[in-house]
Amino acid sequence: MSTKTPSEDDILRPMHTFTKKYVLLFAIAALALGAFLVGWMYQLQQGMAVTGLSDWGSGGGVTWGLYIGAFIWWVGIAHGGIILSAAVRLLGMDRYMPVARLAEMLTLAGLSAAGFYIMVHMGRPDRMVTSIIGHYHITVNNSPLVWDVTVITAYFVLTATYLGLTLRYDIARLRDDLPSFAPNVGGKQLPDLLAPVYNVLTLGYTKAEDKVIDRMVWWVALAIIIMAPLLLHGGVIPWLFAVLPNYPGWFGGIQGPQFLTIALTSAISGVILLSYAFRRAYDWDHIITDDIFRGLLLWLGFFCLLFLWLQLQQLATGSFHPTTDHADATASKFSHPMYVGPMLMVLGVLVYIFAQTIRPSLFSKGRAIAAGLLVLTATLVEKTYFVLSGFWYPSFSIYDGSPGEYFPSAIELLSLVGTVGMVVLFFLVLSKLVPVVELHAVEHLRGDHGHGHEHDHESVDESAEQPEVEA
């Protein structure tokens, strides 16, 4: 661990630098998003026939594919991110405070990508408002899709509130050092365009509110910790599938916990990658320390174990003495590379993580990154397989066109690149505007309780010394 002392300058650094690498990454991300937007426009112009989808059954295809798989994947990343952040606030896991805000931002970015996929997936996205809002009071009683839209919206609002509240403390204190943007257009000097943004964010701020905000954030964190597993990735998202009895691969109560483990593994992986990128870009070895990566990796291992355990439940019940439709669905899992591959990847990550807890010298940041990438790939592929396999092995499997054929079209594949680009852009822009590491974290690392702010939970020294997971 570095001996450097974390400072305000450290967390302001992203806002005060402007490098060629930044420009290059920005250009690549923008290009990726732009390329997909062009593809989407083409899809809007031609119809959904440009995808590899078709009707299931006699139609010989699958009606949901990569778009929905990627939707679940992004929602998972989003939800896990905020759970991690809420755990920091609620359970006093201060060790992860330096990456808490990154996790919150990942939630907003992930939800945006997921919301975008809903639009991209629809035949008539132009009717989103009139048709859904207009009949909301009726459909909210029955339609799992409406539950999804409701909860995702609520989640977005909750997370944005949460982030907004915690940003006030930082912005109020760092205001003088935050960037300004006052371009000179055609010889005419415009006022600072960023100032209003900061002014709105800190509207009516006084130091007296810190304590109140602290309590509010605690309650919002509680709401998130309750909502995420019960309602979101352990609730309405899996219910899209789990409530339908005509697909043996989907139906049943196990999908709630199963989806939640997928969300948590992919979100922790996302936070690992993101933290590493920022640490490397801005020399934050002393802020996002190796210790954080070790801890995140351990949590990743724990959730990988849960993930595999719940998969095992499904394999066991689906193959011991299954009904005909269950037998087909489970047999496919044992043989299909889109299922076997991800399971082996997650198992490999699990083995590595447990090995490095026994023998710490096996840890390296490179391996942590590899573990994160493997898990993210595995969850994306597994979720896409999950969606497809429902249509491949329905209860009513009489049709010659079932299991249907599917390979994602170029536009569908481009959507992955595009949404990753979108999320990268989100961070590139946001990191230039507000600190992505919160001031609290810096104060905390310094053992500094100044600025009139008191933590009402355990002291820094205690929490820093206690590893919250025993090896």
Binding site: G39, R127, G134, I138, N246, D400
Partner: protein, 551 residues
Amino acid sequence: MSTEDESFHPLGQEWENELETMLDDTEYDSDLGMQMAEDAMRVTKGELSEADFHEKYHDDVMEEFGVDDRPTEEAYEEAQKNAGGFAEMLKSVDSDGEESRRGMMKKMGAGAAFVGLGAFGASEGGSESEPNVAAAQEGDDTEQDVQWGMAIDLERCDGCLSCVEACAEENNLDRGVNWMYVLDYEDNGVDTSRNRLVRPCQHCTDAPCEKVCPTTARHTRDNDGLVLTDYDVCIGCRYCQVACPYGVNYFQWDEPDITTEDIEAQAQEEMGDHDHDSDVPHDHMSDERGRWVDSRAPRGVMSKCTMCPTRQDGGMGEDAVGTTACEDACPPDAIQFGNMFDDNSDPQTYADNPARGRALSDIDMSVPSADALEDDLDGADDDLESVLEASEDLDEEDLRIMKAIEIVTDDFGEGDDSHTEYEQNIVEAFDALEAHGLDLDSEEVLVGLDLADEPDEDEEFDGPDESAAQTVLVNEAGEPSSNFQLLQDMGTNPNIIYLGNEPGPQAEQVDGPVAYEDVEADLADGSSVPLADNRKEVLDEMTVGDAGVSL
């Protein structure tokens, strides 16, 4: 809702004030309106009798409006019999959220609005202290006495795909959009020629597609139970297709081949001649409610078998009501469409006694016309043997079946379903025979046709033997091995009854006697397009970067 204010209205003082302001805006007496509204609320709660309510305000209403359009005592009595009374009418002015209250008020007119104010309370309220008000919310205020559905005799289907073709032509479907689909299958390796399934939409009473729809585009038509898609509302999320266990939905992945202009032009041409209900639009797309639910879907929304709402609404003439394109087109008469709520409808009578239904359908071609019989029988004797000998078109076997059908049928020849027409043909033939002097209910004839036992000497003749008649029909037409609804365990309550083999969980489709590609549909733009079995193969042409591989 506040419990402390003094408002008579379950929505509270604020709402009451708003109502009063609205009334103030009209030229009519606000105080009278509020008083009537309050009393109307009492009617819904059962505190005031409806008759008293009428009595109390008749004079005031006459004075204010010059007319009292509210039901008169006689009309009220009538309404009471039919719909449960004025209180029910009040309650049934249910705000379903489609229209604002103000919009509704305007429609009702100021006079009716006085009463309507109370009624809105009835539908919007709902605290436990007001049981009638709460009950009004739950009540299903639409009387549904028709539920369209089908009985499909799988053992009569010969796999010719005429129904698939007729459906594509009627609805101008794209290639591979097989709202009606016919497939042969193998079950556990046993291939009998009768393993065949005819699969339109099941128009489920508890349709999962409707339940999951995030927009209400997929809906059940209140008056006749058809499950339809409102093409103007659907957002194309395809969740209905996902939730349907039967796989009957077809998404419109690209611009449809046939334009709405072509469909409308075709409709004008074909529907113009009919004596149709003038309320029904002439475009073969909008139904009687004005919602776009019929013919092929536009791009980006979901479609499926509709059971021909334009026909059911009378848009193709009275004769087409109670028919579908597939039913009309089926050469072996395997599809019986009709009202599932009516025990005497084609599908219900057919499902109830398939042997009778089959025999009736088969015999129809052989039933001689009354004129032909008269000509043939001219000068012949009136005993059974002579009649059969003299008649060219009537043999003993035919007559036995015709008589057996009559014996096993209640209300023979009565009703207006298509099978009743067959029965009427038989009635006419029987009348001609009776006119000639042959008593078809006599011992001589019935015993001669083996449709009654010959009585012992000390017994009286006890008329036709129904079980003998049924045996004759079963021997002639056969009986299906089973009678089932598809995937009954899914809890969908489908409105199609199948007669024949039920496919098991291991059933797998095999090639049928006629290939889809060998059948052509004539569409509204004048083109003749071969059907396609697999939609994906048609759609692959448009897929961007189709590598020809599958996961």
